[in-house]
């Protein structure tokens, strides 16, 4: 089944407050695997939009449909578990589990999502992904012992290790110096190449956006405007 995401008049208020003026009203559809970049001034709510689309927060009104299916059941906040397992979210602050080593940070999510998988297979995949993002050798380090760039690499590995069909990156190059941020951007491109997933990346760095996609979506004035071609 080709991944597709449809946002029907999705309205969201700023951050956790759940009240106050609505930040945006978005009505869009994405069909098939693609890399979509969303840009916008800081404070335009692009991060909140990504979290609403990515199932972190329930939309105030309107619906987010993954292949026609909604993540949030009408009754309460119970989330559709099987759909949730096909989503990978990479947070701006990395959200690394600081009580676990790098290796455990990768094994833990897989043990939750693929409980039947054998321990050895899981360890092999974790080691494979550590090499893929260039962190081989730092298996036993804790997140606070890593540099900014290395933490971001681990966060990306942890997001992709679940082989998700829907991938969300919240400003992956924020707070990094230009050289590290370019390395991370190239790493993303390399990892997402010919991967059948519908991917969204939020950023306000035009240099990086240019390397990801020829044109971008722009969140301004509470609406997600269609493609803007980058010079």
């Amino acid at each position: 089944m080709l991944p597709s995401l449809r946002a029907i008049r999705v309205v969201q208020s700023p951050g956790r407050l759940r009240h106050g003026p609505s930040l945006f009203e978005v009505d869009c559809e994405w069909k098939g695997p693609s890399l979509n970049v969303i840009m916008g001034e800081s404070g335009s709510g692009k991060s909140t939009l990504l979290k609403t689309l990515g199932g972190v927060w329930e939309p105030l009104s309107g619906q987010v449909l993954f292949e026609g299916e909604s993540l949030w059941s009408e009754s309460g906040h119970r989330q559709n578990k099987s759909l949730l397992s096909r989503i990978g979210f990479c947070f701006q602050n990395n959200a690394l589990f600081n009580s676990m080593t790098c290796f455990e940070n990768l094994c833990f999510p897989r043990s939750q999502r693929r409980p039947l998988e054998s321990e050895t297979a899981r360890r092999k995949i974790a080691t494979h992904w550590l090499d893929k993002v260039g962190l081989s050798g730092s298996e036993s380090l804790f997140p606070f012992e890593l540099s900014g760039g290395m933490q971001k690499r681990l966060a990306i590995a942890r997001t992709l290790i679940l082989e998700p069909d829907y991938i969300f990156f919240d400003d992956p190059t924020a707070g990094l110096d230009p050289i590290t941020s370019r390395q991370i951007a190239l790493l993303l491109l390399e990892l997402l190449e010919n991967r059948p997933a519908l991917t969204f990346v939020v950023t306000n760095d035009e240099d990086r956006a240019r390397s990801w996609a020829p044109s971008v979506f722009e969140l301004r004035g509470g609406h997600l405007n269609e493609k803007r071609h980058l010079p």
């Binding site: 001034e41 800081s42 540099s147 707070g175 050289i179 590290t180 370019r182 306000n204």
Partner: protein, 242 residues
């Protein structure tokens, strides 16, 4: 004017400054660029005595300050104003009280005169009428940064030190901040040392740039020299600008 001579500094096992040698002329806008963790901010903090070097010499004008005590740094801090990466405003005090922290010795009339001139210089004249009622948390992050700059400017220091003034700011605001640095340095004849990793804006306003790597200067020169420089680290920084 300001000279580092083979300065070494390490925090426990981590060596941050590894023989830094550098000299900066009066009235110059001097940029120090480098990846995070290469000791840029640490070198600034040595100039105002927040850190003391393990070895090596540091001169400001013709006084050697590497072994100075806390009191000896008081006059130095009047001469060098440091603008921190975070606004570092005192949230529990009004904007006025924040601004006059550095000029408490002046009388009220002088204070107000200087404040209005400095607020105009940093583009915050609109705040002038409610300095007494408003508090830092009510300002936007960009405004807080400008107010912190005004606060550092008020004691009229000869040298201005900027610690990553535009990190965390969106592209448009950081452009405005860079223009502000240039205007203040040229209008008031201040020597400005700016630590940053924003090469594009640095090349626009800097008189000279130094590129640091692993606590040492690996490249030094005017913007033109830096654009054509064969040094690997500089080229890595330039890649974005093609």
């Amino acid at each position: 004017m300001i000279r580092f001579e083979n300065v070494h500094k390490s925090f426990g096992p981590k060596k941050v400054l590894n023989g830094l040698s550098l000299s900066i002329q009066r009235g110059e806008i001097f940029f120090m660029l480098g990846r995070s963790g290469t000791g840029k901010s640490v070198s600034l903090k040595h100039l105002v005595g927040l850190l003391t070097p393990d070895s090596g010499k540091i001169w400001i004008d013709d006084t050697e300050i590497s072994q100075f005590s806390e009191n000896q740094f008081v006059p130095i801090r009047k001469k060098c104003g440091l603008v921190f990466q975070l606004p570092a405003l005192v949230d529990s005090r009004s904007l006025y009280e924040n601004l006059v922290l550095g000029i408490r010795h002046l009388d009220a009339v002088q204070k107000l005169a200087r404040i209005s001139a400095t607020l105009k210089a940093v583009g915050l004249e609109s705040l002038e009428k409610d300095l007494f009622e408003r508090f830092p948390p009510s300002l936007s992050y960009g405004e807080q940064k400008r107010l912190a700059l005004a606060r550092t400017l008020l004691p009229d220091p000869e040298i201005l030190l900027y610690d990553e003034p535009t990190t965390g700011l969106d592209p448009t605001t950081s452009l405005q901040i860079h223009d502000l640095i240039k205007k203040i340095s040229k209008d008031f004849g201040k020597t400005s040392i700016v630590v940053s990793h924003d090469m594009r804006n640095a090349l626009k306003i800097a008189d000279r740039l130094a590129v640091l790597d692993a606590g040492r200067v690996v490249d030094l020169g005017t913007p033109e020299e830096i654009r054509r420089s064969p040094v690997a680290m500089t080229m890595a920084f330039m890649e974005d600008l093609q």
